[in-house]
């Protein structure tokens, strides 16, 4: 039995989580202030999907990983300088907006078309990976739509574990309510897996791997087609920062017993 996979990871880029975000309304709708100047990272849950994909491919000879990203080309190139050092993959780049105020249906259309155009992609061995939600729009719908467009009807979201059984079936753990996992057994690829955190730590930077990856990444960035996401029928009435600013009471130089009593009283309500 051929237990090798063609793994396509969909991953956008998002502002570094430590950055302060401020919305602005432009001619084409809401955006982030100085969006192109904010340091960016690969979307965190999608990054986990990439690490899991690389791990899976490493364990199954003949497997290959593609990273498909719809992002502004210049920002994507910056992010790739780091990501390329983490895992071996081939980049498929689309040049377009990566912000949260786009529509998942349009993004899914662009991603699905790009995946369909990947030369040599064996759809019968396809595992479509990505984050179960982005850190931008956070809708958790794009990957499912891409899967549907590609005719994949076995889909899993909030995945923390994938195990390939000896018979080629997939044992998958998905997050469900109450801090539990649902265990499913899927006959095999093709399947969509929207990853949560998974179980792998972020790989260390490997400069040698980075140089190897960049040989294909740079041409892929040059080839990146422009994608427009007009979202014409989606209208934002209001976009704002939350106004919750609390008046923090700072309690210091008080005995632990007194602090404990205050906390216990507060908990008891």
């Amino acid at each position: 039995m051929n237990l090798s996979f063609h793994i396509v990871v969909c991953a956008g880029i998002v502002p570094d989580p430590l950055q302060t975000l401020e919305p602005v309304i432009g001619d084409s709708g809401p955006a982030l202030k100085n969006e192109m100047l904010l340091p960016a990272v690969l979307d965190p849950w999608a990054a986990h999907a990439l690490y899991e994909a690389a791990h899976l491919a490493r364990g199954h000879a003949g497997s290959k990983v593609w990273l498909v990203s719809l992002s502004p080309r210049a920002k994507l190139q910056q992010v790739m300088m780091t990501v390329a050092q983490k895992a071996p993959f081939e980049l498929v780049a689309l040049d377009g907006p990566a912000g949260g105020f786009t529509d998942s249906a349009e993004v899914a259309g662009a991603l699905a078309a790009a995946i369909e155009a990947i030369p040599g992609l064996d759809r019968s061995r396809l595992l479509l990976f990505g984050g179960w939600e982005s850190a931008a729009r956070g809708a958790g719908t794009t990957l499912a739509m891409v899967g549907e467009r590609l005719g994949i009807f076995d889909q899993f979201q909030g995945v923390d574990e994938l195990r390939v059984e000896p018979d080629g079936s997939l044992r998958i753990l998905e997050r469900v309510e109450g801090g539990r996992h649902q265990i499913s057994r899927c006959a095999g690829p093709p399947a969509v897996l929207g990853w949560a955190t998974g179980s792998l730590a972020e790989p260390p930077n490997q400069p040698q791997l980075g140089m190897q990856n960049m040989r294909t990444i740079l041409p892929a960035l040059q080839r990146a087609q422009s994608v427009a996401l007009p979202a014409a029928e989606l209208r934002f009435v209001r976009v704002a920062l939350p106004s919750q600013q609390r008046q923090t009471r700072i309690v210091r130089d008080v005995a632990a017993e007194e602090v404990a009593r205050e906390i216990v009283d507060w908990i008891r309500g």
């Binding site: 502002p15 430590l18 975000l21 919305p23 809401p30 949260g100 998942s104 249906a105 899914a108 956070g138 809708a139 958790g140 719908t141 794009t142 739509m145 549907e148 009807f153 899993f156 979201q157 909030g158 923390d160 469900v176 309510e177 801090g179 539990r180 996992h181 649902q182 265990i183 499913s184 057994r185 899927c186 006959a187 949560a196 955190t197 998974g198 179980s199 029928e233 989606l234 209208r235 934002f236 009435v237 209001r238 976009v239 704002a240 920062l241 939350p242 609390r246 008046q247 923090t248 009471r249 700072i250 008080v254 632990a256 602090v259 404990a260 009593r261 205050e262 906390i263 216990v264 908990i267």
Partner: protein, 347 residues
């Protein structure tokens, strides 16, 4: 006039839970505000009559459902097929649903099949000048937005905890069954079961009054120059047990476990609160030994009263993120708190 469908899935005994009843409230209020619209409840499950009876007095114009043992489990292929069938049967322009893990998995694909647009994690709904407006968050609870769409069908998945649960009296209701046969392509996945996180006991309690969050400080060297991880584990678990709190953690603490360091053994990524973790809803939250950095605190967006214990008076919690910051040693405070809680038990 909108043709509104409320999609719900039933549990093991055919009834519905709190998130589903919250969606009933949201739909009732929205239809009322729209004026002249009708709404139907669409049920998916192994057994659906108990849910229809539970909702008999909810004000819906009718009930439709897809029922059968293959629809009892939470599986994409069968749930998406059932939801699609119900939407088409009703000709729904507006579809509302609770944002449960089961429906969240299926609804994106359903939107694709119907040529619909979808918005998830909706936390508020209103009608303004005849148009429906939905509130949701962007960038992991850092920016809030209100949006509207002209496109139909429009699917709206509602975040659990955002609306009061409907609590009307049960009664008698008839359900129109929509026949649906699944092909073999929709049965390639078997649901084997559920498992709790392998930590010895259930410490994630979504219904708890209190969220207790442990940060990486618990594993750092203490004033005696040594780490006290075992004691930290004991204090945290005992505190969570006695207060019946839900346990959360910061990313840094969970990541330490992934890096193979000796850390609190009962914490997993499922406990993680923040930018790459959960955004739970609890009336109160107590943070211990974490710094209140922005990526962590975005996970506290829906925590009512917030208090923190930290040795650093200048930490992020002090800058308008907590109601009270106790500048204190969390070990000492929890030891004392446990004595108080135990004393209360023995009284």
């Amino acid at each position: 006039m909108e043709q509104v469908l409320l999609l719900l899935t039933t549990g093991e005994n055919g009834s519905i839970g709190k998130a589903e009843r919250e969606a009933v409230t949201a739909t009732r209020n929205l239809v009322c505000a729209l004026g002249g619209s009708v709404w139907t409840v669409g049920l998916i499950g192994g057994t659906i009559s108990p849910a229809a009876e539970q909702l008999a007095g909810c004000g819906a114009a009718g009930f439709v459902g897809v029922e059968g043992k293959e629809f009892a489990v939470s599986r994409y292929a069968s749930d998406a097929a059932a939801a699609e069938a119900l939407c088409r049967a009703i000709g729904a322009g507006l579809v509302l649903a609770p944002g449960s893990s089961r429906l969240m998995r299926a609804l994106g694909g359903v939107a694709q099949r119907l040529g619909a647009r979808i918005d998830t994690h909706v936390v508020g709904l209103r009608v303004q000048d005849g148009a429906i407006q939905a509130d949701r968050w962007y960038y992991r609870q850092r920016i809030e937005a209100t949006l509207t769409r002209a496109h139909r069908p429009w699917i709206l998945a509602l975040d659990p905890g955002s609306f009061p649960p409907w609590d009307g009296a049960p009664g008698t209701a008839s359900v129109k069954r929509v026949p649906l046969e699944l092909g073999p392509e929709a049965q390639r996945t078997d649901v084997v079961g559920l498992q709790a996180v392998d930590t010895g006991e259930q410490t994630i309690r979504p219904e708890a009054e209190l969220l207790f969050v442990a940060g990486a400080g618990w594993t750092k060297k203490q004033p005696d120059g040594k780490t006290h991880v075992e004691e930290a584990a004991h204090l945290i678990l005992e505190f969570v047990r006695k207060t019946k709190a839900s346990l959360g953690s910061s990313k840094s603490l969970v990541d330490l476990a992934g890096e193979g360091q000796a850390v609190l053994p009962f914490l997993t990524h499922l406990h993680q609160v923040g930018q790459t973790g959960a955004t739970p809803r609890h009336p109160k939250g107590l943070a211990t030994c974490c710094h209140g950095e922005e990526p962590h605190v975005v996970g506290w967006r829906f925590i009512g009263e917030r208090r923190a214990i930290n040795l650093d008076a200048n930490c992020g919690w002090a800058r308008g993120k907590a109601d009270v910051l106790y500048v204190a040693d969390a070990f000492e405070v929890l030891r004392a708190a446990l004595r108080l809680l135990e004393g209360n038990e023995h009284r």
